[in-house]
């Protein structure tokens, strides 16, 4: 299982809001496809899927504030 986490986004950015999931739990995703979008004060950031597999769980739904390094979902390879 691969954990999806909010990566380091750089200077002064410690958290972000999960603004859009491109997939629903249970759906198949391919490595490199847009998986989830985060929004900070002045930037949006699209996180591509790190692996191919099934998005088994969404831990942070849209609208939730998450910290850098926090797990927001799981993918079963």
């Amino acid at each position: 299982m691969t954990k999806i986490i909010l990566p380091e986004l750089g200077e002064g950015i410690t958290k972000a809001v999960v603004s859009y999931w491109y997939f629903q739990a249970g759906q198949a995703v391919k490595k490199g496809e847009d998986l989830v979008e985060f929004t900070t004060d002045k930037a949006t950031f699209n996180l591509p899927s790190p692996v191919s597999g099934k998005l088994t769980e969404i831990l942070a739904p849209e609208g939730q504030n998450v910290n850098v390094g926090q797990a927001i979902g799981n993918i079963e390879e």
Binding site: G10, E11, G12, I13, S19, E37, T39, K42, A43, F45
Partner: protein
């Protein structure tokens, strides 16, 4: 920090907002695939209100019908930030840059864009500053440049809009960036005859070179 980064400059002139967006999307894909490292786009847009991902509808202060009668479109944009307005006389700068060459640091990228614009304005003897916690460029507590970006596959797009000589009255149609702020422009500080947009573009491209490629 710059680690071999360089960029090309592309001047699209006056272009519809959606066409400008389409250019950016194509370039994001090219840059993500490694064909280019970065492209700095200059353009101007016909009047358009754009709603960033954090936009609240109440920050557009006039009904859609009225905006339509004024020839102003309202479009959703996938950048960060709230509501903004583009119009002729405002220089829109889209640095479509591969942040893999720039330390994968979105915060630093935003600060460096501010730095480039501030340095340009200082050359015109306009005392511009950045305000902590309020991304953008400010002169005498008024906003002269707004910033909002998106990042896909670590390629940044969207960017900065710098008011050069635009109709500032139109900003009364919105709460810019969702705040009660007053907008200003370079024309408020410099005589019209000294505002040469072609020269501003050349100087600003050079400021971006200094900030992003010479570390």
């Amino acid at each position: 920090m710059s680690s071999g980064f360089d960029f090309e400059v592309l001047d699209l002139g006056l272009i519809d907002y959606q066409k400008g967006f389409s250019w950016q999307q194509d370039l994001v894909n090219e840059i993500a695939s490694g064909k280019r490292k970065g492209v700095l786009i200059f353009c101007e847009h016909s009047p358009v209100i754009t709603l960033g991902r954090s936009a609240k509808k109440e920050n557009v202060l006039k009904p859609g019908e009225q905006l339509k009668s004024l020839g102003i479109e309202v479009v959703a944009a996938n950048r960060g930030g709230d509501v903004t307005l583009h119009l002729p006389g405002q220089l829109v700068v889209y640095p479509v840059f591969n942040l893999r060459y720039l330390g994968r640091d979105i915060g630093l990228f935003l600060r460096n864009m501010e730095k480039a614009v501030i340095s340009l304005l200082n050359d015109y003897r306009i005392k511009a500053t950045a305000l902590e916690g309020s991304t953008g460029v400010w002169v005498e507590q008024k906003k002269i440049a707004s910033i909002g970006i998106a990042v896909k596959n670590w390629v940044a797009y969207h960017g900065v809009s710098l008011n050069i000589n635009c109709n500032l009255d139109l900003f009364s149609l919105i709460r810019p960036c969702g705040q009660d702020i007053i907008m200003t422009s370079m024309a408020r500080f410099i005589h019209f005859n000294d505002l040469n947009v072609s020269e501003i573009k050349i100087k600003l491209a050079d400021k971006f070179k200094q900030v992003f490629t010479r570390g």
